[in-house]
Symmetry: C2
Subunit: 449 residues, 2 copies
């Protein structure tokens, strides 16, 4: 199998890039995630890079220097572009060859790297000097709802008489999202305006959102696509997954509750979605794949088209997700941010393969660079709830911040930072970097409201 | 106002392209819709063209021959591309200048056209020899629900106790659609498979859709975009509309009814959406714009952000939509197709400007080439119902075809053809061409169901 654990995952590998060997780095040599950055200096054209420690490898520069050959060269040539879409359209064997050659070039002890080391060192850009951009031009973005706990919690608030609908345990529920408003980590998020109705007896009004929320999700990038009319079988679904990132599905709860019937969330979600800049490849995550948790007793088996032994065996990824909040006042006072939740991607009710296969099961085509959101990753415990809606139970149980401020929903100036990492005894930590955004109030004058 | 009636609309204008002067043509010189085509012969690269009678003007060839100048030259240069996206990103004054020069080049009586006529004639491609492609690379596709009659009919079938939800008369309801599976007219449509549940007491199953339907809609192409966070005010919304096409929102009703709660339609719609090939510009439609129909007595006024006097005065477009069905047996027997409905775009509850402004009212950005669907255009009369779900009342009242076949929903081999046209005494007919698709059964072997 292409994405099995191999020598690039060996925990004893170290890099001549010293920062990659620090225990808490997100980007050891075992990770090698891909992104798009702008270099300091005059040339600000977007370039594909690979994270190693606190440095970025400039892929086009390495390519020009002739550092790749064989299938890896094909992949490296696909990196000479302003997005990862070309690379994502290559097959996993090609991508894997690139990973292997990059690993060799960056290894401390590799004979082949010794000669090239001074050359590669010239093509490193310090992360602190680079601007990280959106890694992909997303064609279509679809968002799922794969956490049973999240669906149950939200359902019991919006439909107390009917929290979990009868389709949930059969259908990996999802909906189409908005691709145009996907932004890179660090982009400030303007508080959306929208139509809301406070009470059923009142007229709705248009104004600033009063229940702004985040949702911690995993973003799944499609690699190889399929032809329209040809579903992807569950057995080969992961061959269509390039890699993962962190995703903040900003949500306007008051807009959502008024607009969402009967066609689902629309403007409650489409004002912004933030992605972390580094795409961690599925191959880098191979050591952290494991068996899917048993479904609760009495739950139905997934239908045959959503079942494969390999997916049951390796479909869960042990990926920890953490969400931190720092208010404007906390940042001004130099206080550390508050961790709001820690949950795990492996506990979802549906696997990535099931989501992808279901998405194509009607014949729908997916294309390289398409994005699937996992849905909010919540767990059973209160500190595993992946959004404020759940954490404050729709505002009924406000959070108290370390400086005494109360939070029902997000206030202007609040910053949300998400982290994700895979860690297990005997492996190096594979991190996702961060997914960051600050809420900005106000709006330019002149708009008719 | 940029898109007012001007000399290019004069009903007495005729073209030296004789077929453009026939009374029943969709493409008189007053229309000049844009599309993308492949020429016969060796060079199959997609090219922008303009329809005139039964011919296509090859825009890149005209550009190369130096036939444009001034602002029209800017627009013509934007046509030297495989899609209309570049042209759509120019402003309406630029686009209008191109229309004026094209009109002059094709006019029978114009001094300027006399010298150029032999040259332009060389750049005409007969429609019968060309292949018409998708005119636009659609970034995001959003689908609305703007017919009160359609929403009421569908609601009363899916939610008999609650047909029209309380938000409908305040919110131009819409949802995100799938861009990847948008196909050009003439593409055959494979019957989707999906998960359905026949009875609440039964387990769901996965298999071919048993309730396949079409929906007749108008597609609205976005021209100039907006910046993320900056809503488009209603007063200037039409400045962001490039033009219209016909849209068939193929729908799998059995998949839809099982999957759609709580996040809306997903796989019931994403297997295919067909567009007519010619984009009729908003300017060509200027003579057919008129006042919006009064809302039923007692209905609320739209909120301020959705109200403008100009939109009330000119927001309705008198565009007739017709849907025809021909079964495989009917076509084999040489029988004419059956008209299923005739409805009118002007009767919608929400205008294009209201849909577009609402879409951006939360700060969501729209981009040139984005597509808005109007939602099924139905009317109050039975023969104005724009889909089989309504026409056969979810199969309860099957249609009888001329050869005696019964139809509840679409069968394999059924062909749906949509036509659209604007007609009014004292004007030339502005047609949309056709939006065509045949249902194809079966599926390639090897898929796990």
């Amino acid at each position: 199998m292409m994405l099995a654990v191999n020598q690039t995952h060996r925990p004893d590998l170290t890099s001549w890039v010293a920062s990659a060997n620090e225990p808490q780095t997100d980007f050891p040599i075992q990770n090698l995630p891909l992104g798009v950055f702008q270099r300091p200096g005059d040339d600000h054209s977007p370039r594909v890079g690979v994270a190693i420690g606190d440095q970025i490898v400039d892929m086009a520069a390495c390519l020009d220097a002739g550092l790749f050959d064989g299938p890896a060269l094909v992949a490296a040539e696909a990196c000479a572009a302003p997005t990862l879409n070309h690379l994502m359209s290559t097959d996993q064997a090609t991508q894997s060859a690139l990973r292997e050659q990059l690993s060799n070039l960056l290894r401390q002890d590799d004979q082949r790297s010794v000669g090239n080391q001074p050359l590669v060192a010239r093509f490193l850009v310090p992360m602190t000097e680079a601007t990280l951009l959106l890694p992909v031009a997303v064609g279509d973005y679809s968002d799922f709802y794969a956490s049973l706990e999240h669906a149950t919690n939200v359902g019991s608030m919006f439909r107390p008489d009917n929290p979990l609908l009868p389709n949930y345990k059969y259908v990996p529920i999802g909906y189409h999202g908005r691709a145009s408003s996907i932004v890179a980590s660090g982009t400030s998020i303007q508080r959306p305006h929208g139509q809301t109705r406070d009470q059923p007896a009142m007229e709705p009004t248009y104004g600033p959102c009063k229940a702004l929320d985040y949702e911690v999700e995993v973003g799944i990038f499609v690699g190889a696509g399929n032809m329209l009319g040809e579903p992807v079988p569950i057995a080969t679904a992961t061959e269509h997954i390039f890699g993962l990132c962190l995703l903040n599905d900003w949500s306007a709860r008051d807009i959502q509750s008024w607009e969402y019937q009967p066609l689902g969330p629309f403007l409650a979600k489409s004002f912004a979605t933030t992605l972390s800049p580094w795409v961690v490849t599925l191959e880098a995550l191979a050591p952290f794949r494991g068996p899917v948790a048993q479904r609760p007793l009495g739950d139905p088996r997934p239908l045959d088209y959503l079942t494969s032994p390999a997916d049951q065996q390796l479909g869960a990824i042990d990926l920890t997700l953490e969400v931190f909040l720092a208010s404007h006042r906390m940042r001004e006072a130099g206080q550390p941010s508050l961790r709001l939740s820690r949950s795990n991607f492996k506990k979802l009710y549906w696997t990535m393969a099931q989501m992808l296969t279901h998405h194509t099961s009607n014949g729908c085509n997916i294309r390289p660079g398409d994005l699937l959101g996992s849905g909010t990753v919540s767990g059973a415990a209160k500190d595993e709830r992946g959004c404020l809606l759940e954490l404050t139970w729709r505002g009924a149980e406000p959070l108290t911040l370390p400086d005494g401020e109360l939070r029902r929903f997000l206030e202007d100036g609040d910053e949300i930072v998400m982290h994700g990492y895979c860690e297990r005894p005997g492996t190096r930590r594979i991190g996702f970097g961060e997914c960051r955004g600050i809420i900005r109030g106000g709006r330019s004058v002149g708009y008719n409201c």
